[in-house]
């Protein structure tokens, strides 16, 4: 049978993506630990960031600076990002300490790092999108850092339109795409098991 891209894609999906893995109704007993909750808490914070950020983007800076409801949504966006990074760092500690890249999970680990690094750029562009004196100060100070590493020519912290566009469109969609991939890999390979206590490594089981 002659191969074509559609058939190859269907075969690959059927082989690599099983619904038993994507939507499991049973999880291993070892996930009964609060350490395994940091990832989903990060995800919940991200969902709340998108919800509050969408409201802020819809009504705009004049609304979030002067309206009481705007202040409220601005604050929720601020505290969501505090929770987002708080739980993401805890998730990183937990996964690092249990060597979560074991058992073919290296791309899960790498995608997590990419998410962390892109989130930092999201945080920076968010500071620059506040349209207040803090944003001006961060922009003027930070542009020298960008110039010193050679990216100031195309990543201009003083260009509000560029920073705002990155913050509300490109970075959120990049994060959503990467989170989808990250979650898919978690489902595909399963949640990593805790390290064995006998010091003999994975081979002990």
């Amino acid at each position: 049978m002659k191969t074509n891209w559609t058939r190859a894609l269907r075969t690959s999906i059927e082989r690599n993506i099983t619904m038993d893995n994507l939507l499991p109704d049973r999880l291993p007993k070892y996930v009964h630990s609060y350490v395994y909750l940091f990832g989903v808490l990060t995800l919940a914070s991200f969902v709340w960031l998108i919800v509050t950020g969408t409201v802020l983007a819809f009504f705009g800076p004049e609304w979030w600076h002067v309206s009481p409801v705007g202040h409220f949504f601005n604050s929720m966006h601020f505290w969501s990002v505090q929770a987002f990074f708080f739980f993401m760092v805890l998730h990183l500690w937990a996964q690092f300490l249990m060597a979560a890249w074991r058992g073919g999970r290296h791309f899960t680990w790498i995608s997590g790092w990419l998410l962390f690094l892109i989130s930092i750029v999201g945080g920076l562009t968010g500071y620059l999108s506040q349209t207040n004196f803090d944003a001006q100060w961060v922009g003027v100070q930070g542009k020298d850092a960008m110039n010193s590493v050679g990216v100031g020519g195309f990543f201009n912290l003083l260009n509000f339109g560029q920073m705002y566009g990155l913050h509300i469109f490109i970075i959120p969609f990049a994060l959503m795409a990467l989170i989808s991939g990250h979650l898919f890999l978690v489902r595909k390979h399963g949640v990593v098991e805790p390290l064995p206590w006998d010091g003999k490594g994975d081979d002990a089981r």
């Binding site: 630990s33 350490v35 940091f38 760092v89 937990a94 004196f133 803090d134």
Partner: protein, 51 residues
Amino acid sequence: MGQGGLRPPLQAGSSWQFAWLNLSVADMVVVGLMLVVFALALIMRWPGEHS
């Protein structure tokens, strides 16, 4: 500083400095809180679990 002094609007307050590391009080509070939450997550037993 002249002209009334150009001051950053972001005021982190007092900070602890060690070599390249510069942590404000707020930084240290957040890091401390993260360590506490992480330790609690390791120690606390899952509801319904028995040893």
